[in-house]
Symmetry: C2
Subunit: 247 residues, 2 copies
């Protein structure tokens, strides 16, 4: 069986930013929710994995926004797996207006880890054997190591964040979306007030936990792009690397 | 015309805390959303007020949780005005499970301010004249100045918070719910890990704005109650006073 998950959401006030546009963290939260529901339909939900000693880890995420929906608007979110490889599974997302206009799209790469070994493992057979939906038009596979991960750069801005209670999930790991909120809230005032995200590309590196201190760093890369890094203050380990493009 | 707003919500993963219980900020966000929708039905929504030079301000909010819904559960939220006075309007909320069990209830007091004067004004006629629904059983009116507001106390814990971009609404004021998240995230680890909120009582005092620095203070009042204060670091003004009861 193959499943395309389709969810309809009407935007709530607190899901929109100060300009009434859907906020990126709110959108990513809905994408995560739809992905969970689709995984459950496939029998590969979080609970299905835990019962076999495994867990999901998001490794890459790329979101492009074409047009922002606004407060009260009804949108449709579609998500489905596009490709299963030995170590990775790829998942696409499409955000549509009620007239079918493509408002945004995202693609993501996930891996499976063994809870006991705390290490990445090849896709277990019950995941490896799943069928992706017919008739889909998958987005290009994301590079596992994009240039912004491998080319060193110096931050020009840094803010400290402490991981709070409402940013952790039931595994006591930080929710993937919380990092994006911290990264965006660390941006300079003028960018937040005058521009909007056209694209954001994320590399998740290490987990962090409740009460961890994180350094949220950024630097201007080009007139319309920024580089971002979130690292654990104590260990210096990279938690997230990112590149954002604004318009 | 009189309106009872009834919304049905299925709890999403990110609306639940590390124990899978609906989080208090998520619940308060939904309550605020339902209150907005009910106000729009009555012709007293934010936009209706702005077009006449007015704005809503939340002054008091009291929430009691009897039982926490969990991830995936469908809940019903009801809200309606219960009483309109010269200066205040009162609004109740009821959170129900799908079998009708009362999971939580809240009551709130709102005032109207003049945008031009930046000051409280008597309820304009178009609000004063509204009809509350028939057959409701209003919760007791909240005291305008509860004891925890008038009795001085010394904080034993303090954390600093900077108001981030995603905590402000379209008026560039901090969302009422953001304060509650900061107040709860400033609690000690043991309380967050071993207890749950039975009741929280809030007094909103002053607005705060994007990039403001806030001091989030607390002290144990009794074995199961805490006092909380959020003040502007620069002016020392009280933004929020609160009392929470845990079990």
């Amino acid at each position: 069986m193959a499943f395309i998950q389709t969810d309809t959401f009407t935007l709530r006030g607190y899901e929109c930013d100060a300009f009434g546009r859907m906020s990126i963290p709110a959108l990513m939260n809905l994408m995560q929710e739809s992905a969970n529901r689709n995984a459950v339909a496939y029998g590969i939900g979080i609970a299905d994995l835990v019962s076999r000693g495994f867990g999901w880890m998001l490794m890459r995420f790329n979101l492009r926004m074409h047009e922002y929906p606004r407060y009260g608007q009804t949108v449709q979110l579609q998500t489905y797996p596009t490709l299963v490889e030995k170590y990775f599974i790829h998942r696409d997302f499409r955000l549509l207006a009620d007239d079918g206009t493509l408002l945004g799209e995202a693609t993501s790469t996930w891996l499976v880890f063994s809870i006991e070994k705390r290490a990445m493992v090849p896709m277990p057979d019950f995941i490896r054997s799943l069928s992706v939906p017919a008739g889909i038009d998958p987005q290009p596979k994301l590079p596992a190591k994009p240039a912004f991960q491998t080319t060193p750069w110096q931050p020009t801005d840094e803010k400290l964040v402490t991981v709070g209670w409402f940013s952790i999930d039931q595994n006591h790991h930080v929710n993937n979306v919380a990092y994006v909120q911290w990264l965006l809230e660390a941006m300079d005032n003028e960018t937040l007030q005058t521009r909007e995200i056209a694209e954001i590309d994320l590399v998740y590196r290490t987990e962090s936990h409740w009460n961890d201190q994180l350094r949220v760093q950024s630097a201007l890369e080009a007139p319309d792009t920024f580089l971002h890094r979130i690292e654990q203050q104590e260990s210096g380990k990279d938690v997230l690397l990112a590149r954002s493009r604004w318009r």
